[in-house]
Amino acid sequence: MEKDEIILAFESSCDETSVAVIKNGDVIMSNIIATQINSHKRFGGVVPEVASRHHVEEITIIINDALTEAGISYGDIDAVAVTYGPGLVGSLLIGVTAAKTIAYAHNIPLIPVNHMAGHIYAAAFVDKLQYPLLALMVSGGHTELVMLTAPGEFSIIGETRDDAAGEAYDKVGRVLGITYPAGKEIDRLAHLGQDTFDFPRAMSDSDNLDFSFSGLKSAFINTVHHADQINEKLSREDLAASFQAAVVDVLVEKTMHALQQHPVKQLVVAGGVAANQGLREALSARLATEMPNVQMIVPPLRLCGDNAAMVGAAAHIMRAKNIFADETLNAQPNLNFARA
């Protein structure tokens, strides 16, 4: 029997400092996550300089917690992995710098991980992945359809032309007076209301797999402002339900188009917005009736948001492909997969 592979993984691309120890790509020995959300709530969104400062405060504490909980020593570690992009450059730099330093101090190989690859490979903790597979990647900063033809081979077949879905949630939340981050609360309100406003669904019918949410966002804001001007009180629940229905319709429709154009066995729903109940329900309902043979994988809630376990899972794939970085590794805030 082969020796277990142990990866020490780092994630600091936005406002979570996380370090994890992952065995053989799919066993979580530890996954420590420190969130700064209560800090950024003060400002109505993530302030990059504040985020960077918090990461420095946390980094060695989180490394120590992860190593202690996993009960391993440096001699057991086969690779140190780190998210080097995309994300906030100042935030990314803390994880990259700490990971490089640990790798240097103990002469351990370093693996650079794309944050989006991490989100997709969170699915590896749920089930064995089969290729080709399609991933719907929805988060605060990204809305993408990504094809994986083989392990670690990514190409974008559809992406947003303006706002990411999560961004639209935050902007609409602001109009409703919901404090940042708005996604969870809009999801909750939406389940109490009805889709009565019939907001526009952008490009739902075209063969093109790109998304657009700016028209929806404008329609929503105009509706609320118009009502304010004539002193009409609109139902927050119905507004939230109508907004979410439009977002979900676009995401589901494009994903179904993508599945028709690119037959796969598995659909991975990844990223922070994958936690959205409305999206999960709508997607699994459509799949059940139209493509019952496609398996939908949604990582558990804790692995949908930013965390280092997912980085360790992706690094396991990169290690098998011999993808390593040297000590000059830098943060790449605009890192992205290639467009197909």
Binding site: A34, V50, S52, Y74
Partner: protein
């Protein structure tokens, strides 16, 4: 004792390996803006050229600030992670004291300066007393005009060190002949000076070690202004 010393607080990046007060190796890069790419390879090279392994290092000494926020974080994160993971001592040294230590004169107040833009500077006041560099006025973020008034009030000759080119006219206009300036070479931070200053200092707690930014972020200043009296709590929590 082997000390690894580093400074990434401004444009220049400096790294040194020092053994019991003797310099083994050092490097200063003055035009490389990507400290994150250059710092670790430079540490690796200097430690190896000194015939050492990372595990031979006994102490890490780092310029703790003030300076460029991103630059400071690269140096401080490298230093605290290295100290943590090798279980060795960590010492933070003022980036301004580091500059002041380039001036070896006890006949004047030494005023290290960094440009903080919009007429402001990061500055401190230092003086050599019995062979030790003493802090005369705390490092702070201050308008250049106000700093010059404070220096003038001391009524002593002053030597300015650091990136002073753009401010020389203003300094001389206020202080006249009592203000002098170091040459360009001595205005660069040298990590070996950090090791020297650190040798007389106690090691600090690693986990709580952060840069001395000397400024709150703009977002926090505005928030505090809008929320007077609200007590700061711990904003980061494990989930």
């Amino acid at each position: 004792m082997i000390t690894l010393a580093l400074d990434t607080s401004n444009k220049a990046m400096s790294v040194a390996v020092v053994q019991d007060g003797e310099l083994l190796a050092d490097t200063t890069l003055n035009k490389m803006r990507t400290h994150s790419e250059q710092l670790l390879p430079t540490i690796d090279r200097l430690v190896a050229l000194s015939g050492l392994q990372p595990s031979d290092i006994d102490r890490v000494a780092v310029a703790q600030g003030p300076g460029s926020y991103t630059g400071l974080r690269i140096g401080v994160t490298t230093a605290k992670t290295l100290a943590y993971t090798l279980n060795i001592e960590l010492v933070g040294v003022s980036s301004l004291a580091t500059l002041a230590a380039n001036v070896r004169s006890d006949a004047a107040i030494i005023v290290p300066l960094m440009d903080a833009r919009r007429g402001n500077v990061f500055a401190g006041m230092y003086q050599w007393v019995d062979g030790a560099l003493r802090n005369v006025a705390l490092d702070k973020h201050v308008a250049l005009d106000q700093l010059l008034e404070e220096v003038q009030a001391l009524g002593q000759p002053a030597i300015f060190v650091g990136a002073t080119e753009k401010m020389r006219l203003a300094i001389s206009a206020t202080l006249g002949g009592s203000a002098r300036f170091t040459d360009a070479l001595n205005s660069l931070p040298r990590a070996a000076r950090i090791a020297e200053l650190a040798s007389g200092m106690q090691p600090v707690d690693i986990d709580s070690f952060v840069p001395n930014y000397l400024r709150l972020t703009e977002a926090e200043v505005n928030w505090l202004h809008a929320h007077p009296g609200v007590k700061q709590t711990n904003y980061v929590e494990k989930v």
